[in-house]
Structure formats: structure tokens, C-alpha cells
């Protein structure tokens, strides 16, 4: 598999007050995100997730180290548009990223900026809206839609650039459970069917269940990196970083501490139930 995004010893500091040492929000991040993968980034507030996301499409430029998007250096100003076209970004508040007051005009915004010919824009808009399941809302006013629908419009607005990768920075944080589910199933489908690389930054541990890979950020560094099973079985480590684990892993962890022989890597509800059932049937006298 080829590499979608690569960071090499990436450092970043926000401008500090005068006479103060700049505080690094990213302190040497080395990552290689494979094309077509579904990566979830976890980490408590202020751990540098948003900063990392914004360096991935040259909204923020590294203060040290490098970021490569499909081999393109984000420090090269001439490649700016090309990089941003390849890595789309969706943010938390849907109201603050919708530009137009008609759905189709909003989705068309990015292709218009890229100078795509009119007929091609039309095709992309229709296709993007279809991809997020909002085809029936072409001429609707975005402010009248639900949170989940607005966020799907925002995703469509990014998909219309035909990016190779979409980064979602807590895009589900402001949504109700229904809206969150809509958005999640949409991005999982985009990942499966269109092969779009997904980097999903989230606070909800259960959103990491189906990921190919989980990265945990802490204090501007990558603290843990692995499959969901690998990461979530380190319950104590996660708790020490101020994170919770999915309810299923929490349950298994408590059982284990009570002396029941269960594995910690059964994350989905079904796997968890099976693991518990297996543990109890193997040792019925407990």
C-alpha cells in the first residue's frame, strides 16, 4: 500500500506572547497513514489533535520537520491548492463551514474555487450529494436542516473536490446520536466504496471500534498507535492519559480484575458477549 500522508518529526508551535517561550502543540510526530485506511485519532483536549489535522492540508505549516501529502511537501507554496484538493477537512460546527444558503451552491463552492468547468461542477455536486445520501435536498436551505444533515452537506462539499483523503476533526461532537450515526455510516461507506482515506478525530471511543488503526495523542506526541484491539486493551495506560475505554472493554477489564479469565480485545458488543459467555462456560464453577 502506498502512503497518503506522512509526517516526519513534525513540530508546531502557536505564536506565543512576547517574552514567553513558544509552547509546542506538536513535539515531533512521526506518522505514516496508508492510502485507503480508516484511522481514528484519540486524545484528551489540548493534546494537539486539531493542530495535527490542520498540518495535514497546509492550513498550518510545520515549524520543524515535514508533512508530505502523497509525496507533496506542504511547505511548497506552489502545491498549496493541489494539497488542499487532495486532503479535505470537515470541522466540528456545521454552521461555521457552510458558505452558501442553497445546498447545491455550497457543495459547488470548492469545485468553483478550483476552476472546474460548469458541466463538471454539476456532475460532481450531484454525485457528492448522492454519496452522502442527500440527493433530495439540492435546493434546500442548509440552516433548515438537522445537525446530521448539515454535517453530511459539509462532507459533500469536501467530496466534491474529489479528494483522496478526508480528515474529520470532531465532526460528530455536536450531533445527537441519530445525526452521529448518519455521519459515521456515511464516512464508512465513502471509505469502503470510494476508497477514500479517512482520518477521524473523535472523543467517542466507540467510533474507533471499526477503525483499521487507532492513534492516541498526548501532549503533542503520539502516545499509542495500533489496531483498536491493541490500543484498548491497555486500559490503565488510557485512563492515565485521561481517556476512557469503550463500555465493552471497561466491562471486560472489571471482570478481569475480579479474576474472570476474559480477553480485553473484544470491542464490539457481540465479541464482548461471546468472550464473556466463553469465559463462563469454560469455568462454570466460578
Amino acid at each position: 500500500m502506498s502512503t497518503m500522508i506522512e509526517t516526519r518529526d513534525l513540530r508546531f508551535a502557536y505564536p506565543a506572547e512576547e517574552q514567553e517561550q513558544p509552547v509546542y502543540a506538536l513535539k515531533g510526530v512521526d506518522l505514516r497513514i496508508e492510502k485507503g485506511s480508516f484511522v481514528v485519532v484519540l486524545g484528551h483536549n489540548g493534546s494537539g489533535k486539531s493542530t495535527l489535522a490542520k498540518t495535514m492540508n497546509a492550513v498550518l505549516l510545520p515549524a520543524g520537520g515535514k508533512v508530505y501529502v502523497e509525496g507533496l511537501d506542504t511547505l511548497d507554496e506552489r502545491l498549496l491548492l493541489e494539497i488542499r484538493q487532495r486532503v479535505g477537512m470537515v470541522f466540528q460546527n456545521p454552521d461555521n463551514q457552510i458558505v452558501a444558503n442553497v445546498v447545491e451552491e455550497d457543495v459547488a463552492f470548492a469545485p468553483e474555487n478550483l476552476g472546474v468547468p460548469t458541466e463538471e461542477i454539476r456532475r460532481r455536486v450531484d454525485e457528492a450529494l448522492k454519496a452522502v445520501g442527500m440527493s433530495g435536498f439540492v435546493t434546500h436551505a442548509p440552516h433548515l436542516l438537522s445537525g446530521g444533515q448539515k454535517q453530511r452537506i459539509a462532507i459533500a462539499g469536501v467530496i466534491a473536490m474529489e479528494p483522496a483523503c478526508v480528515v474529520l476533526d470532531e465532526a460528530t461532537a455536536m450531533l445527537d446520536p441519530v445525526g452521529r450515526q448518519e455521519v459515521l455510516s456515511t464516512i464508512h461507506r465513502l471509505n469502503r466504496e470510494k476508497g477514500i482515506t479517512v482520518v477521524l478525530i473523535t472523543h467517542h471511543m466507540n467510533e474507533a471500534e471499526e477503525a483499521d488503526r487507532v492513534i492516541v495523542m498526548d501532549a503533542g506526541q503520539v502516545a499509542m498507535d495500533g489496531t483498536p484491539q491493541e490500543v484498548f486493551s491497555c486500559v490503565d495506560r488510557l485512563c492515565s492519559m485521561g481517556l476512557t475505554v469503550p463500555d465493552t472493554v471497561d466491562l471486560l477489564d472489571r471482570l478481569q480484575k475480579d479474576g474472570v479469565q476474559v480477553p480485553l480485545d473484544a470491542i464490539t458488543v457481540e465479541a464482548c458477549a461471546d468472550a464473556i459467555a466463553a469465559a463462563f462456560s469454560a469455568a462454570p464453577e466460578n
Binding site: R84, G88, M89, F91, Q97, V99, N101, E112, T118, G157
Partner: protein, 268 residues
């Protein structure tokens, strides 16, 4: 209560009035305003009112909606009317009371002034009712395109206008929310004199401004992420094109202005 604001409201439809090119409609409104300020007699005002009535009929916009647009400026209309009525000098005095004199000229002026303002507002509202904000700004941008040569930031202004229109409902909703939150904490916006009322607005305006700045910041980032880099090299989903109906409409507009001007020369 804030939901009643009709500014920039658009009623979608499929009539000729809706389908006209936005540039045509803007030009027609300009012609209409010119004609209104040229009109000097009952006859010419009648013609203008008739024109408006025909346009309203074509657009199928309800008269009630159009009249509702007058409500926010009712005070200005009445004020102008009374001012003209009382303070126009003239010979034919209808009646006087103390230092106030109502003259025939004053009455005439007041009626015409009120008519003019009402027709003006209803005409412009008819345009905004039948044109989506986005095509309106698009039309403006294209009409003023020539000014780019004189370094007028036409694209930027149009973009600002369309973003402002986009955020009006969002900010209204937010204001409503903040007001409810402050009311729940015992804030009182209704009683007291003018100064007290103005003071009561501060706890609304401060959070509103802070949030507006945060929104602006996030929106700017989101626009950058979607490859926005100014108006250069931008294409459009909807390209404006003049159709024959636009030429017909503009011809009629010019003819009406010409007719009104001729009638005025003839003293009618």
C-alpha cells in the same frame, strides 16, 4: 419575534419574474427608481403603481407579504408624510392651527412623498422576494465587474454580501437563544426607559459578537480548506445568461422611463 424579520427573504417560485436574469431585475429596479423620481403628477404615479401591480401579478407574490414589508418603515413613512403636510409653504391654505399651516401644496407633496416611498420599498422587496440571495449577489458581481479595472474589490464585496446573507438566519437564531438564556437568569428586556433598555442589550450583544468572531475565524479556515483563494480563476455552477425574456423586460423598462420623462416634459 426576531423570526419576523423579512430582510432578504426569498419566496421560491417558477414564474417569469423568478426566471428573469438577476442582472435584469437589478437594472429594472434601477429604472423603476429613476422613473419614480421623475414622476411628478397623479397620472405618472398611477402609471408606476400600475407597473408594480402588473409585476406583482406576474410574480404571484401575495399582496399581503408585500405590504408586510412596509411595516418596519411605517414610522418613516408617517414621519415624512406629516413633515411634508405641515411644513410645505404654499398659497392655498386649507386650515391653520397655531403655527401649523396645512396648504394644498403640502397635502399634495405629502401624498406623493408617501406614495413614492411605498412604491419604492414594495418594488425593491418584489425583487428580493423573487430572487434568491445567491443569484442576487451573483448578478451584482457581474454587473459591477467593469469596476474591477478601477481596483474596486467587486468579487470580495459580493462574497461578503452572500456570506452575510447566509449568516443572517444563524445569527438571528443565536440571538434568540442568548436572549432566552439571559431571560432565564432574570434579565428584563421590556421594562424601563430607553437607556435601561439599551443597557439590557449589552449582555446580548457581547456574547453575540464574541461568537460571531469565532464563527468568522472558523469559516475562514473552512473556506481555505475548500481551496478558496479569491475570485481569480473561479468558475460557476450557475452561469448567468441573458435570454430573450430579459431583453423584452429591459425594453419595457426603458420605454416606461421614457414615457414618464416625456409626460413630465409635457407638464403632466
Amino acid at each position: 419575534m426576531l423570526k419576523d424579520i423579512t430582510l432578504g427573504q426569498y419566496f421560491p417560485g417558477n414564474t417569469v419574474a423568478h426566471k428573469l436574469d438577476p442582472r435584469t431585475k437589478i437594472l429594472l429596479v434601477v429604472l423603476y427608481i429613476v422613473a419614480l423620481f421623475t414622476a411628478k403628477s397623479l397620472l405618472t404615479y398611477g402609471i408606476m403603481a400600475l407597473c408594480l401591480a402588473v409585476c406583482v401579478r406576474i410574480s404571484r407574490v401575495g399582496i399581503r407579504q408585500l405590504v408586510r414589508g412596509l411595516k418596519p418603515v411605517l414610522f418613516i413613512i408617517i414621519f415624512t408624510g406629516v413633515l411634508n403636510l405641515l411644513f410645505t409653504p404654499g398659497e392655498t391654505e386649507l386650515f391653520s392651527w397655531g403655527f401649523l399651516h396645512v396648504t394644498g401644496e403640502g397635502l399634495r407633496n405629502a401624498v406623493f412623498m408617501v406614495l413614492r416611498i411605498m412604491l419604492l420599498i414594495m418594488g425593491t422587496f418584489l425583487m428580493t422576494y423573487t430572487t434568491s440571495p445567491i443569484s442576487l449577489t451573483d448578478g451584482l458581481e457581474r454587473l459591477l465587474n467593469g469596476l474591477k479595472r478601477f481596483h474596486v474589490p467587486v468579487h470580495e464585496l459580493a462574497m461578503m454580501m452572500s456570506i452575510a446573507l447566509r449568516f443572517i438566519p444563524t445569527l438571528i437564531e443565536e440571538t434568540d437563544k442568548i436572549m432566552s438564556a439571559q431571560k432565564a437568569r432574570g434579565a428584563d428586556f421590556e421594562s424601563g426607559n430607553l437607556i435601561q433598555k439599551a443597557k439590557a442589550l449589552i449582555p446580548i450583544l457581547v456574547p453575540l459578537f464574541i461568537s460571531a468572531f469565532r464563527r468568522a475565524d472558523e469559516l475562514a479556515t473552512a473556506m481555505e480548506c475548500r481551496c478558496y483563494h479569491g475570485g481569480e480563476g473561479r468558475t460557476k455552477l450557475h452561469v448567468l445568461r441573458y435570454e430573450s425574456r430579459d431583453y423584452v423586460a429591459l425594453t419595457i423598462g426603458v420605454l416606461v422611463v421614457a414615457a414618464v420623462a416625456v409626460l413630465r416634459r409635457l407638464g403632466l
